[in-house]
């Protein structure tokens, strides 16, 4: 709790305490924590003097403002039609095999979360995915194995 309090106060000092500061603050929490806990949301509501239900409403509106615990690396595979036709299913199968989790889950060591996402805008280079903020395109089974092994080595 004290760390969250500090983080939120720091973000509010940086972005301000008006309603329009809400989104940058929530994004700031995501950058640091990968998800926004109920403690964090309560703290934001207190800091900005707005209702906790409204902060929760804003967070749940945006897919990238997760309110459920996420791993250190959040992998988001594009589920939209072009990537699907380019073989996103095999990519997901490979990832599930490599990480030993299903879509929507987080590894036991809390390092990886596997999710699907709507269009990333990389249709011409599908299948595409994000790991945190980094984009990976034209994925193949070999390529994905290499990328994940790389991440695993550098944890």
């Amino acid at each position: 709790m004290p760390e969250i309090k500090e983080l939120v106060t720091g973000l509010a000092d940086k972005h301000g305490r008006t309603r329009e500061s809400l989104l940058p603050i929530l994004q700031g929490i995501i950058t640091e924590e990968r998800f926004i806990s109920d403690d964090a949301l309560t703290e934001v509501a207190r800091e900005l003097d707005i209702s906790a239900a409204l902060v929760y409403g804003t967070a749940t509106f945006y897919s990238f403002l997760d309110t459920k615990p996420r791993g250190k690396f959040v992998i988001r595979i594009c589920r939209t039609i072009t990537c699907d036709m380019k073989g996103k299913k095999q990519i997901i199968n490979t990832l599930e095999d490599l990480l030993k989790i299903r879509v929507g889950e987080t590894t036991k060591d809390k390092n990886f979360t596997l999710l699907e996402t709507n269009c990333l805008g990389w249709c011409h280079k599908g299948p595409a995915m994000l790991i945190n903020d980094d984009v990976f395109t034209e994925l193949t089974e070999d390529k994905i194995t290499e990328i994940i092994r790389d991440y695993m080595r550098n944890i």
Binding site: R46, I50, S51, A53, L54, Y56, T60, F61
Partner: protein, 596 residues
């Protein structure tokens, strides 16, 4: 005229003030346009689309509640296109709505059902999506049930909770077809900042937000030969109950209500107005004691301004939002709770009843009273002081269930001992009423003279202005109160929690310097309470308030300290205001609560 706009609706010319909507203009012509998300008390949302109309020269249909009338507009409210669109809107809402109407508490009182009935919807056009929706129902609160399967997401509740009450216990969460009305992290209403005021219940068009009813429990108690069932009725019930039983807004039904309660089988038909008078005695004395401690003893631990504590919605709001000000709240219990504590002690003793066999039922204009009755502190009689709190609406249901022709009932009186009241108690039901009642008594205690207002009517604290202030100068005071000579008593009144918030901010910032502040949680005070007949509009609340003041003027006794039964209880049982016995039974404490 520069400030009017001329438009044509269904071939009829109409002029309206600039800024008025097409819906307003249609109303002026007595053309009914159906609405769901629109509510007179709330800002425009324009999300349900059921009020769409056709505007000549515009391709898309427009929402009449949201579009301002503009010069030369030609509107059709009943064209083929409009009728089709509205029907689709209602059908789509029904495809996601648990339309098991016969099992719904709002059956025959539901705005969506009314629309479906008006449109004669027999076969459903769209697939029933309810089974896939995983809707949940939150029944944990003692006051309010939230059933998402009935929700049409019009957001009237969200706007009520935010705009009128500054609470925002309810918000909009998720998006698209996952969008729902939610508390913080979907916690039960019982665990969040909800004040149980029930204003959302008053404005919900369907059965998604309803009061938790205790009808079966009350009937069971009445049928139990072993139990002595006492009923108490709040001031604001007697001017609103008639609305649910076919009468006009503003009908005074005090006598008929007493008669109907007797016919329902309650053993003692008594009046919360009695304990409202008692509240004035205790609270008035508490105020004078606080003033003495602050002004004479220079006791800095005494908190001023003192806040009224009759409204359980306001009390819980303060507990969540301004916990540093809990010592400013009067320690007096609300009239409902004073009554309950005395019913199972004083009344039982006087009437030779076993308090273990007494069931105390209250009829309240309020949903928060249900929560208040269940507060763990409210057991000073050795029992739960008030066993069940019913709303005005629930009483109307009981009267209908019993087959009583309410309008034809004779006027009857309350039973004696805790049934006598004054006009000061009656006006508790309207915003400013507690202040007026307190001033009528406190002024007289201090000066020995009646308050210097014509007919005792302190008009400065009346009305529907959100925050009102009144200052009264105390002059030529009695010797015992000489420290108050020349003091200007500064008071303020607020109703609806948004106005309460405003007054609290002013106090917090040191911009306001009051001695005594009355706050009622609901707009208009108890007359607009969350347990009152639906619908509620500014006009209906105005009529109810007028009725309250009419009732007051018609009373023989107009001041709380002159209520003979109040004088009797101090003589025979309590001793004097703020006595040890009073502290034991009539006063309470408050708890700090989390703000989520």
């Amino acid at each position: 005229m520069a400030n009017t706009v001329n438009i044509k609706i269904d071939g009829i010319d109409v002029s309206v003030e600039a800024g008025k909507t097409v819906l307003d203009a249609a109303k002026k012509l007595n053309i009914h346009i159906p609405t769901l998300c629109y509510h007179e008390d709330l800002c425009v949302a324009g999300n349900c689309r059921v009020c769409v109309v056709e505007q000549e020269g515009v391709n898309n249909l427009v929402a009449s509640c949201a579009i301002p009338a503009q010069k030369g507009m030609v509107i059709h409210t009943n064209s083929h296109k409009v009728r089709n669109a509205r029907r689709h809107v209602v059908e789509l809402l029904l495809s996601e709505h648990n339309a098991d109407c016969t099992k719904c508490y709002k059956n025959t009182k539901c705005e969506l059902q009314d629309l479906a009935s008006e449109m004669v919807i027999n076969e459903h056009m769209f697939m029933d999506l309810v089974p896939d929706k995983n809707y949940t129902t939150d029944k944990q609160s003692p006051s309010i049930i939230k059933d998402d399967s009935k929700c049409i997401r019009c957001q009237r509740c969200v706007r009520t909770c935010h705009d009128l009450q500054h609470v925002s216990a309810l918000g909009v969460a998720y998006k698209g077809d996952h969008m729902k009305i939610s508390t913080f992290f979907e916690h039960p209403m019982y665990e969040v900042v909800c004040t149980n005021c029930g204003q959302c219940v008053n404005r919900c068009p369907t059965g998604a937000l309803i009061e938790k009813n205790y009808l079966d429990e009350v009937w069971d108690a009445i049928y139990d030969e072993d139990k002595h069932v006492i009923v108490q009725t709040a001031p604001a019930t007697r001017i609103a109950l008639g609305e649910d039983l076919g009468m006009e807004s503003g009908s005074i039904v005090t006598g008929k209500m007493a008669a109907s309660l007797r016919r329902l089988g309650f053993d003692s038909v008594l009046d919360t107005d009695f304990s409202a008078d008692l509240t004035i005695m205790e609270e008035g004395t508490e105020l004078l004691t606080r003033l003495k401690k602050a002004l004479v003893d220079k006791d800095t631990s005494v908190k001023l301004p003192m806040f009224t504590s009759c409204s359980p919605g306001w009390v819980k709001f303060l507990e969540h939002t301004y916990p540093d000000y809990l010592d400013n709240l009067s320690t007096c219990k609300s009239p409902q709770q004073m009554f309950g504590a005395l019913a199972k002690t004083y009344y039982a003793e006087k009437k030779g009843l076993d308090p273990d066999k007494i069931v105390c039922v209250s009829i309240m204009p309020c949903t928060a009273k249900k929560f208040e009755a269940n507060r763990p502190e409210m057991r000073d009689s050795g029992y739960q002081d008030v066993d069940m709190g019913l709303t005005t609406r629930e009483l109307a249901v009981m009267i209908k269930q019993a087959g009583i022709d309410f309008q034809e009932l004779p006027d009857e009186k309350f039973d004696s001992l805790m049934g006598e009241s004054s006009g000061a108690a009656v006006i508790f039901g309207a915003t400013g009423g507690v202040m007026e009642a307190a001033l009528r008594t406190a002024y007289e205690i201090v000066t020995g003279r009646e308050v210097p207002f014509k007919n005792l009517n302190i008009t400065a604290v009346r009305g529907m202005e959100g925050v009102r202030e009144a200052n009264i100068k105390l002059e030529n005071v009695l010797p015992a109160w000489s420290f108050l000579e020349g003091v200007e008593l500064k008071t303020a009144v607020a109703h609806g929690l948004t106005n309460a918030h405003q007054i609290m901010e002013a106090i917090h910032k040191g911009e306001a310097n009051y001695h005594f502040v009355e706050v009622m949680g609901c707009p208009g005070g108890c007359i607009g309470g969350g347990g009152q007949p639906i619908p509620t509009t500014p006009e209906i609340r105005r009529k109810r308030a007028e009725a309250i003041y009419r009732e007051d003027e018609g009373m023989a006794v107009r001041k709380s300290h002159e209520n003979p039964e109040v004088q009797q209880i101090y003589r025979e049982f309590l001793g004097e205001p703020l006595s040890d016995k009073s502290h034991w039974l009539l006063h309470t404490h408050y708890v700090k609560r989390k703000r989520v």
